[in-house]
Amino acid sequence: MSDNLLEVKNYSVASTDNVPILHSLNLTIKKGETHVLMGPNGAGKSTFGSSLLSNPAYKLTDGSIFFEKENITELSTDKRAKKGIFLSFQAPVEIPGISLYSFLRAAVKNAETPLTGKLFRKKLNEILKVLDLKQEYLERDLNVGFSGGERKKVEMLQLLMLSPKMAVLDETDSGLDVDAVNIMLKGINEFQQTDEKGMLIISHNMHILNRLKIDKVHILVKGRIVADGGSELIQEINENGFIRFENQAGDGNV
Amino acid sequence: MSDISTKNSSITDVNRSLYDFTKEEKDVEKLASGLTEEIVRQISAKKNEPAWMLDHRLKSLQIYNELKVPNWGPDISGLDINNIVTYVRPNTKMAAKWDDVPEDIKDTFERLGIPDAERTSLAGVGAQYDSELVYHNIQESVAEKGVIYSGIEEALSGPYAEMIEKHFMKLVPSTDHKFAALHGAVWSGGSFVYVPPYTDVEIPLQSYFRLNSPGAGQFEHTLIIVDKGARLHFIEGCSAPKYNVANLHAGCVELFVGEEAHLRYSTIENWSKNMYNLNTKRAKVEKNGVMEWVSGSFGSHISYLYPMTILNGEYAKSEFTGITFAGEGQNLDTGTKILHNAPHTSSVISTKSLSKSGGISTFRSAVTVTEKAHKSKTSVSCQSLMLDDKSRSDTIPLMDVRCNDVNVGHEASIGRIDDDAVFYLMSRGLSEEEAKTLIVNGFANPISKELPLEYAVEMNNLIRLEMEGSIG
């Protein structure tokens, strides 16, 4: 239980044109834990999620990042992915020329437990059913012409197929209808079943957070973590918003 | 500002006859028509120019004789160089005050609004009448910054002679095409501009070209060097009265944009409809430099016009904004060429073309991305509007990509005025002609907003004139 899965220390991030975004973040996610990162728009939540996979749009200006106690600060995006970190994108891109099926095959090859032909097919079919996705999507180019909801489902499909050690979910539920949110929750619940995996949820949808097992909550305001706590923080924000925290951050800046 | 708006309202009253008046040719010195070594030597002798220039002229003549006319583009068989007078010297010396310009020539430029524009909105003006510059002046405050704006022939014997020799026809060599060679042999007049490092010329300089003599050619050479970190906006205007014989314009513009420098080159071309406009324009842009072309083509019988940008240094940028309006009897083949020759260079091409009353407009472009141009980006957008079913519009773009980590985008569309839009406007009380003119002006708006205000007004006027009587 006490094994650290993901740890960032004194973690500072700027855009490539040197605008500071995140300031000295410290955060540890242990195996079996689910954390939530909340904050007002523009706080840097998505930047944090994306930087965990070394998005070239950002650069680390200070600090380091550890995964299973290994320093991965210098590792490239694909190497971090191969270690078992998964990012569910808030706005997944279209990639014409690559079919969803070929893409999944290639991605699964890099997973910790690669699946061979038959097993791959079997698992894929099961998950398609769970997510209510049609078979014919597999032959279409990756995300090309997919609706917002379909893209989110395809992200979830990848999460469940790849079965990574650590999942970072960026606004996984935004833009989904009630049925689709229920499907997502089913997927997340399934992922949470083991003690070995960790999860970071970036969200401001109180509704889905209330229906999940949450271990810790972090509040990010203006690029700084201004509060850490348990799920009671979710309740507070639900009632009062981020005002208290924003004032706090304001004070901190003086 | 109030000055400019007064001026605009007077331009609104303009009509075609503004451009279409002729002046009697008094005491002018004209060489025989045609092209021979003898004529080339005579032009050179009159100009008292350095020996290398005569060599250059003679070599160019030889190249001219060897090169073929293009096998693509509009038919120019109606142009017979044997009937073109390559050199017409007006009866005057170059003046620095309008009062010293002969009355009839001064009157021409007065009617075109040039001295007025100089007073209100320009930092310097050059005026060419047939083969020679007749007027050249630059504001004192701009001259004090070290900015040179003078006749290129005059500069050939001044302190910048060496700089001119180093740059003259180096971007557009005589071997480039047959009419570049012709230019190299018989060029006459034109301007030289040098902007020293980190100098910002805040208000535009303008050259105006007027071809008065029937059956003549105009072959002015414009050489502009914008040094490191400097900024300049240069405006070129051209017009001529209409004659029944072919006139030829084969000018050449060479622009050198230094590191971090910025040059905008705007042209409103309104040659008369007997003109063969075979003009060559080229810019070379160094690291972090920016070149902007704004090009309006309204006149000429036939045009071959493709201003080219060579993006030679990292992060160099170019923007080309063009409009071409081909009316009755016109075949206007216009566009641009871009050569991406360094990493991280970018270019944006945006053009509009209109065809009406049997006019032919062709958009032609070539975008080349060389092996060196990693991470470069280019986008081309061209829209054509057909105003009736007697006219023609062709789109002939070309992309040559030799580097893989680049982004090349292209889009083109062609069609006619949306009937629904016309109906909508007419339902609000506009006549059909008004509605269509409004829509065409809207179509041209992205271009006119790139022009200085008074030129935008002039352009909208030209469009209104072209649209007049277009219904029924």
Partner: protein
């Protein structure tokens, strides 16, 4: 001895220095090798004979000299006549297998009588090592209300020369949908022209390629709109890897009188190698105002966002390239019946994915 051709001519010329106005090609004057096409069909209604049947139909075509060469040299001539009102659902397949040094020239005259429809495929293949030469001329006449799906698959070996030519003429309400897959041959030329003569006739042209090794691909597509309310759509999609080169010409030509017509042209090129070279010349010629023509092209590599997405799933650049190839191959396979899909599979195993190459 050979015949020198300036093939795949651009309908309106542009600057010569870019070398796109036509493709210089030398075709051998040696007599053809004996190759018998395998014909796969399960339909008796269709009539096939060994004579030319469309000599009297006027096609605007592409290059006259090329056509003359093929008419003179052809050793295989097939005429396919689809009778009035008949519908051939199952594809009629001509399967041509060439020996490594074969030379073959073919003519296929396809007549679709009124309100008939057919699905015809012509496949040309050889072993991976081949210096074969293949040239054909496929002429299509679609009478009122007829429709044709025509697929040309070319899988010749890496030193082969191939030139696949399609000319077509469509009458009222006729439709043609062409798919060309010039996957093989060191020099691969493909051309298709459609004359939309009839009212509301339409043409859709798809071209799919995967440039590899030192392949030189040269494409030329022209749709001429003559009839009122005619429709066209030209789509070229491909990737260029290794030191492959490709030139694509696509022309939508609106002739005076084709009122209410619309044409669309699009091209997507993914450059997967530093040595790959691409030229694109998309023309719209317009002599009529009541039309709508559009063209779009995107040439280049994946942008950073997309690469980040792939990398976030553990897929590095090399794997991404492979993925694009895999997806392109499987997309093509999905477009074809099993027998031809199997050929593509073979070709991709032997040539495209052969690591030893």
């Amino acid at each position: 001895m050979y015949t020198a051709l300036n093939a795949n001519k651009l309908p309106v010329l542009t600057w010569n220095r870019f070398n796109v106005n036509s493709k210089e090609l030398h075709l051998s004057n040696e007599p053809d090798s004996a190759v018998t096409p395998k014909i796969i069909t399960d339909n008796d209604a269709i009539k096939i004979n060994d004579n030319r049947t469309l000599d009297d139909i006027v096609f605007s075509g592409s290059d006259k000299k090329t056509e003359a060469y093929i008419l003179k040299n052809a050793s295989v001539t097939k005429s396919i006549i689809v009778p009035q009102n008949s519908t051939l659902a199952a594809p009629l397949i001509f399967d041509l297998t060439l020996q490594p040094t074969d030379k073959l020239t073919g003519i296929f005259d396809i007549s679709l009588e009124e309100n008939s429809s057919a699905n015809i495929m012509i496949s040309v293949s050889s072993l991976a090592q081949s210096t074969a030469q293949y040239a054909d001329l496929i002429r299509v006449h679609a009478a009122n209300g007829a429709s044709l799906k025509l697929t040309c698959l070319q899988l010749l070996g890496s030193s082969a020369v191939s030139f696949n030519n399609i000319v077509s003429r469509l009458e009222n309400d006729a439709k043609i949908s062409i798919l060309q897959i010039p996957l093989g041959a060191g020099t691969a030329l493909a051309s298709a022209t459609a004359d939309l003569r009839g009212y509301h006739s339409s043409a859709s042209i798809r071209s799919d390629y995967i440039g590899h090794l030192e392949q030189d691909i040269d494409l030329n597509y022209v749709v001429r709109h003559y009839g009122k309310k005619t429709l066209s759509d030209i789509k070229m999609t491909g990737l260029l890897s290794d030191a492959s080169r490709k030139t694509a010409r696509g022309t939508i030509d609106f002739h005076r009188g084709c009122k209410g017509s619309s044409g669309n042209e699009s091209e997507n090129v993914l450059l997967l190698s530093e040595k790959a070279r691409n030229k694109s010349v998309p023309l719209i010629l317009c002599d009529e105002d009541d039309v709508a023509g559009t063209h779009g092209a995107a040439i280049g590599t994946l942008d950073e966002d997309r690469f980040f997405y792939l990398k976030s799933r553990g897929i590095d650049e090399k794997a991404a390239r492979q993925l694009f190839l895999d997806s392109a191959v499987s997309r093509l396979k999905n477009l074809l019946p099993e027998i031809l899909a199997a050929k593509i599979d073979n070709y991709s195993k032997e040539v495209l994915f052969n690591e030893s190459v």
